[in-house]
């Protein structure tokens, strides 16, 4: 790890954990504050990514679009009540260009259904993130979740 990476490692790791904990604790709105205003949050299958196909099931191209998606989840969309648990591992800063840190991590999301208690591995894959250091600390310029399976179990309404 270069000295530059070493300087920011704990803060970047913490940023990734903050995102996961906000969702798991049902404070989903808070993740939009971890994105710079012009940042991008994308959830895309590895299947599409490996074939250079651009389509992503979630592609919020600003913090405002992410807030709109969360608002839609809260007041418009219908789904069976459930919650997530994120397991995050392997956080690494793998590069830096013009002040943008390239970060990789693995994620696993277990979904628990509220009514019957069914638990399932809902999604697992790699995060390919770009992080910038702002006056308020590190923030995501881009969060890209590449999920490994080509299928989504039923629906993805709570952001991962």
């Amino acid at each position: 790890m270069t000295p530059q990476h070493d300087t920011h490692f704990r803060a970047v790791e913490n940023l990734i954990y903050e995102w996961a904990r906000a969702i798991d604790e049902d404070r989903v709105e808070a993740i939009a504050d971890l994105l710079v205003p012009e940042g991008r949050y994308t959830v895309k299958s590895r299947f599409n990514h490996d074939r250079d196909l651009p389509m992503a099931i979630i592609d919020s191209r600003s913090a405002a679009q992410l807030r709109d998606r969360i608002k839609s989840m809260r007041i418009a969309n219908i789904y069976e009540p459930h919650h997530y648990r994120h397991i995050v591992s392997g956080v690494q800063i793998v590069g830096e260009e013009n002040g943008v840190l390239q970060v990789r991590s693995n994620y696993l999301v277990v979904r628990t259904m509220t009514l019957d208690g069914d638990m399932k591995i809902f999604s697992t894959g790699q995060c390919q993130d770009e992080v910038v250091i702002t006056a308020e600390g590190p923030k995501f310029k881009q969060r890209l979740f590449l999920y490994d399976s080509r299928i989504i179990e039923t629906l993805l309404v709570i952001p991962i």
Partner: protein
């Protein structure tokens, strides 16, 4: 252990009890669908033969997915894995993905490019049309072994399906009797022609695994009644409201349907105002901070903002603003289905148009802000049906006949027509117990 428990235990041990369950279709006919039709494994097994391998055309992909000689796509018709290929002369072929020798699966990749189809088990080789060209050691070695003298390569090709294309869509059929594809589509063909008017470019895939019987999903896009009620997003942002100019077209047989809505054509009426005030789908609290996602262009020049088209038994084509996609329904057992969304644009789209389509891909599919509800409702229905041994759905919105309801979207006419065709294909007569023993 109580006596009751003992006898119950013995019934299970010494069964068979499965065909003692009621399987009488309600006397009302196609205005009712008994819940056992969604839960019974025997019914499911018959559907594979009588519907998916029966007299139907099933969507298998886009011509654009197999653009070159040797391109292939592995997909499903019903539960059967099939392969779509493009041969040296440019022709398209669909074969069962199973070696004619001992049944091993030939293609294990979703897409690819090959010179031939090859079985790894005993090196049986097939050309891109599915003809057997070579079987390893067919003449034996040093006069021993080998296939019988009367073995003919030409008699051991892959199981070939009928193939037909329409506007870049590829359909296949196990049936020699089903009418030509365009005749089968009838008046619904014009809804396809309207959207798919030039060469396509695939943008990506999304597959939803829905824990519900395939019919619970198939009914959903035929159901224009629910769209503006369940999906809050539609009504709130004016993409599709019941007060707008809209309509529905069925083919003569009632197998296929499409409906459309024209945004910005609201007609005020007192009864609409009264009803919509009570709908949860019209939600004034739902204002978008960044409404650019809903900015759409009338690219077909007819004002239609949403068109959803369904062909029996497993295909949907949607235009939601500028988002275009096919949906392929793949049953995976009586209570599970995959819905494969293929998003596309046109080959000559500029980058701005492609970006619009990609942004609007947020609206539908497994994470779709408009329609994430559909899969949830299918699963909740399946769970509420429980073992399916009691209850039936009531399908009389718009009337009780195959014609009633006309072209209004406030109608379940297309669902009645589905069950009518389903019962014909399954050989289910009114008031007659099914013989499934």
């Amino acid at each position: 252990m109580s006596t009751a428990n003992t006898s119950c235990h013995e019934a299970v041990m010494h069964g068979p009890i499965s065909h003692k369950t009621p399987r009488t279709w309600p006397a009302e006919g196609y205005t009712r669908a008994p819940y056992w039709a969604y839960t019974d494994p025997d019914i499911y097994a018959q559907e594979q033969a009588k519907i998916f391998r029966g007299k139907t055309w099933n969507y298998v992909g886009l011509e654009a997915e197999v653009p070159e000689v040797g391109s292939f796509k592995t997909t499903y018709i019903g539960e059967q894995s099939v392969v779509l290929t493009r041969a040296e002369d440019g022709s398209l072929h669909v074969v069962v993905n199973r070696c004619a020798h001992r049944g091993n699966m030939l293609c294990r990749d979703a897409f690819g490019k090959v010179k031939k189809l090859y079985c790894v088990y005993h090196a049986w080789n097939y050309n891109l049309k599915g003809d057997l060209t070579h079987a390893a050691f067919s003449h034996g070695l040093r006069g021993e072994g080998g296939l019988p003298k009367d073995f003919q390569l030409s008699e051991h090709g892959l199981h070939k399906l009928r193939v037909a294309t329409f506007c870049g869509l590829v359909f296949a059929s196990f049936s020699d009797e089903v009418e030509p594809l365009e005749d089968w589509l009838g008046d619904v063909a014009q809804g396809i022609r309207r959207v798919l008017h030039k060469p396509l470019k695939v943008l990506g895939y999304d597959t939803q695994r829905i824990h519900a019987n395939w019919k619970a999903y198939h009914e959903n896009p035929r159901d224009s009644y629910h769209a503006n009620i369940l999906h809050t997003f539609y009504g709130t942002f004016g993409l599709s409201r019941q007060s707008q100019e809209s309509g529905m077209t069925l083919d003569k047989s009632g197998r296929h349907v499409y409906f459309y809505t024209k945004a910005g054509t609201e007609k005020k009426s007192e009864d609409f105002d009264k009803t919509s005030a009570a709908l949860r789908s019209v939600n004034d609290a739902m204002k978008l901070e960044d409404p650019s996602i809903l900015k759409w262009r009338d690219e077909f020049g007819d004002g239609v903002s949403v068109q959803v088209l369904t062909t029996y038994p497993s295909f949907v084509l949607h235009q939601i603003a500028n988002s275009l996609a096919t949906r392929q329904l793949i049953p995976r057992g009586v209570g599970e289905s995959d819905l494969v969304w293929t998003y596309f644009g046109f080959a000559d789209d500029d980058d701005a148009t492609t970006q619009t389509r990609l942004v609007q891909a947020n609206l539908a599919g497994s994470a779709g802000m408009i329609s994430v509800e559909d899969a949830a409702v299918c699963e909740m229905m399946q769970r509420a049906m429980a073992d399916g041994q009691s209850g039936e759905s009531f399908i009389e919105m718009g009337g009780k006949t195959l014609e009633s309801g006309g072209n209004t979207k406030l109608s379940e006419r297309a669902i009645r027509n589905f069950w009518h065709n389903y019962r014909l294909d399954m050989g289910i007569d009114l008031d007659t117990d099914l013989d499934l023993a």
